[in-house]
């Protein structure tokens, strides 16, 4: 009885939660419903939001997003770009953070501030000279052009150093370090201990790289080198296949939803620069 009453009391709360979730998801719902419609439907104005005969042709049939558009190629390009950027950031940040956390050398404090200062210069500010550099290197329409400016971040160095500092120095003393030993200590002791911090950085790097728009727009012209963000934006210009473009949009969104759902814990930690125990 008391259990039943408790659940009855909760009904308004759940109702509110469901209404809010529905409202927030409404834009996605509309695009999803539209992506299940044949193109003729759109000629008669807005399709019904409760479609009588939804069908998956825009996704998987011939002429659909997966088979007959450039979407697979865009997804491949985005995966390669985001993957290389992620690996690059993790490697360069772990190396630099190691030096700042475990090594003593003259100018360490100043250099760390210089590294931190890079966080104040986002790509948006440096975009013109960087574009010229990539042109000068003949790297337009290449993967190296897409990834080069993002392979190191002050954020990554800062985040990992924060975590590395919590690793007791006694571990290092015990490892009896010489020149080569530092790398071995980093790879076999520090990296396994700092898995969480590395995952935080990796999730952040991948999400940001996958979702970026300005830089890929500038350094790619060849449709074969476009990333999925540029791809879907240009596909919506093609009105004869706008329903297929809706399907592509959701297919480009799906991997990031999975990433955020699976690694939400790490994302929270990253947002606060590692200051929170997530």
């Amino acid at each position: 009885m008391s259990v039943a009453i408790r659940w009855l009391r909760r009904i308004p709360t759940y109702a509110l939660l469901i209404v809010c979730a529905g409202a927030l998801m409404f834009p996605l719902y509309v695009t999803f419903i539209y992506s299940l419609q044949p193109i003729e439907v759109f000629l008669e104005g807005p399709p019904s939001l409760w479609p009588s005969n939804p069908q998956w042709d825009n996704y998987f049939a011939s002429g659909g997003a997966v088979q007959d558009t450039s979407l697979p190629r865009y997804l491949l390009n985005s995966t390669i770009m985001a993957g290389v950027i992620t690996i690059g950031q993790v490697v360069t940040s772990a190396l630099a953070a190691y030096a700042f956390a475990f090594l003593r050398f003259p100018g360490r404090g100043v250099l760390f501030i210089v590294f931190l200062a890079t966080m104040m210069v986002p790509l948006e500010v440096a975009v013109i000279p960087n574009f010229q550099t990539i042109q000068w290197l003949n790297w337009t329409d290449t993967y190296q052009g897409l990834v080069a400016p993002f392979l190191a971040t002050g954020f990554g160095v800062f985040l990992l150093r924060q975590y590395f500092l919590t690793i007791p120095t006694e571990l290092k003393d015990a490892a009896e370090i010489d020149g080569h030993g530092h790398l071995r200590f980093l790879v076999f002791v520090v990296v396994p201990l700092a898995r969480g911090a590395l995952a935080t950085l990796a999730v952040f790097a991948f999400l940001q790289a996958w979702n970026q728009y300005l830089w890929p727009l500038l350094v790619t012209n060849d449709p074969d080198m476009r990333t999925v963000q540029i791809g879907i934006a240009s596909e919506t210009q093609n009105l004869d296949q706008i329903n297929v473009a809706f399907a592509s949009t959701l297919l480009a969104f799906a991997p990031m939803v999975l990433l955020v759902v699976a690694f939400q814990r790490y994302l929270v930690r990253g947002l606060f620069g590692g200051a929170l125990k997530g």
């Binding site: 104005g45 050398f105 003259p106 013109i128 960087n130 574009f131 002050g154 979702n211 300005l214 990433l259």
Partner: protein, 325 residues
Amino acid sequence: MTAAARPLTRRLPRGVRQLLVALPFLAPAIVLFGAFVFYPLVKSVYLGFHITDPFGHNETFVGFEQYADVLGSSEFASSLLVTGTFTLYTVVPAIVIGTFLAVLANQRLPGIVVFRTIFSSTLAASVAITSVLWLVLLHPTIGPLNEFLIDRGLADGPLLQDGGWAVGERATAFDLFAAWFVDPNWALISVSVATAWMNIGLFTVIVLAGLQTVPDELYESARVDGAGRWSQFWHVTLPLLSPTLFFASIVGMIFAFQSFGQIDILTDGGPVDATNVILYSLYQESFQNFRFGAGSVQALGLFFILLLLTLLQFRFLAGRVFYRR
């Protein structure tokens, strides 16, 4: 280091020896920062001193003239105003809604994780995806919003007629006039609504994390004092949440000043510059008009604004971060 090399390095001063050990770890990041962060800053200052021909070549030195021209122009003032308005429209509503959702999803209830995930999920949406979703939603001929307004007789205002078609006259073919994004009075609001939707997830995540730091005992003692839900929120949650909300608004402002994709996809900066934020104007100057000098001056202007905001963000983080060694 081989055994033969060791005696040689022993003879070097200690500082140099330490540097030789540290440098290989730092070198990749130093090279990348040098090439893609510090060199561009210096180059921007240099470009700002020069004007170029319509093809982006043949630089002529003009000194500070271009800085004064660009930063003093009415166009720059207008793009600052647009960016500021855009920031206000995207940050304030999204923080209010995000806080509401976070407090709602912070209760201990079966299945609440599902709602937390849904409320946070727009964080995963890119500007391109967000733009497509809202392009559909606000589309004049196939979008559900206009249909809803027309069905209720609310849509005979100027906003739809500016889209190039009259109320009651259904367009028969695709008429890519997205009225909400074309009407000068609505374009900035429409782009802001789309962006705010994208930010709601981010702010929900930040506020949810902030709520974890509010001790349960405070709510209990408030309840003992007879405080209702609203009073608990107003007198306990909100004061303790204020540093988090401050942090969230700085993050939101930084994002707003870096906004580009939604403008490019939805409005191209128009109509009549109504949505021409700083970054879009920089893009047009540099990559459509090939005036790299003028673009660089805008980039430096943007740099100083972001510098200020980032320093504020650092101050917040420094208050929380726990340093050892």
